[in-house]
């Protein structure tokens, strides 16, 4: 039983770690701010989530599992919000993606 749990746990941790590495590479290599934020978002959400789920399956005290679940919940709420806030701030301050350099300013900026 423990062996199955262990195997299942690594089945989650390894893809999670791979996704984190992918996110890191993307953060360095992608062309503009928005694409990089996309890469960071992958690390923040799916990468860490898989690693945390994998750790939850590791045989340990049940309190650890609960704590990890709470951490997972807060990460899932805060990380996308932080990414959204960053991108929103960049867009309203006039930063434009590589492929849409002439996109119009949003209304809220024009009205200021």
């Amino acid at each position: 039983m423990d062996a199955i749990r262990e195997a299942l746990s690594w089945l989650f941790i390894v893809p999670g770690a791979l996704l984190c590495v992918t996110g890191g590479i993307g953060l360095l290599r992608l062309p503009d701010f928005y694409a990089r934020m996309h890469a960071a978002g992958v690390t923040d959400t799916l990468g860490t989530a898989l690693v945390l789920v994998g750790l939850m399956l590791q045989p340990a005290d049940w309190t650890v599992t609960v704590k990890l679940a709470v951490i997972l919940f807060f990460l899932y709420v805060t990380s996308p919000t932080a990414a959204h806030a960053l991108i929103h701030a960049a867009y309203t301050s006039g930063h434009r993606p590589e492929f849409a350099k002439d996109a119009p300013l949003p209304r809220e900026v024009e009205s200021r």
Binding site: F74, V77, T78, T81, H84, A85, H88, E108
Partner: protein
């Protein structure tokens, strides 16, 4: 921040948990990592997050600067009061054994509460002061 709907909703969701966590750190400090200092900083972080997202005015309406200013002194006074009460009960200054059987527990809890109040108030005070400077410009 008027247009950050997502940010406002998520902040509203998170702030109760941040404040609750501060109290957990405060009163669980006897058994796990944490204590008054960390709890005070976390509590202040919750207030500052509220001020950042909903505006300084909203935060000052919730917790008036005068209350915060009073807290700066109240925490330290509570700490000193614990020491003086220990003196009056016949012990040394800050000797919690004077409080009876579980004196150490109660003394540490009271003292940590004092640290909590001072630290949280000072952090919020510093933030309010700087934020008011920016607003009045």
């Amino acid at each position: 921040m008027k247009n950050h709907v997502i940010l406002r909703v998520v902040t509203k969701l998170l702030i109760p948990y941040i404040l609750l966590y501060a109290f957990y750190v405060q009163w669980h400090g006897d058994y796990g990592p944490g204590g008054g200092f960390q709890a005070g900083v976390i509590f202040a972080a919750g207030i500052i997050l509220y001020a950042l997202v909903f505006g300084l005015q909203a935060a000052e309406d919730a917790i008036h600067p005068r209350v915060v200013h009073a807290g700066v002194a109240a925490g330290l006074l509570l700490y000193l009061a614990v020491g003086v009460v220990a003196l009056l009960l016949g012990g040394n200054f800050l000797d919690y054994d004077a409080f009876g059987h579980h004196g150490q527990h109660h003394g540490i809890l009271l003292v940590e509460t004092g640290v909590f109040i001072t630290v949280a108030s000072v952090m919020v005070t510093i933030f309010y002061s700087f934020a008011e400077l920016v607003r009045s410009d």
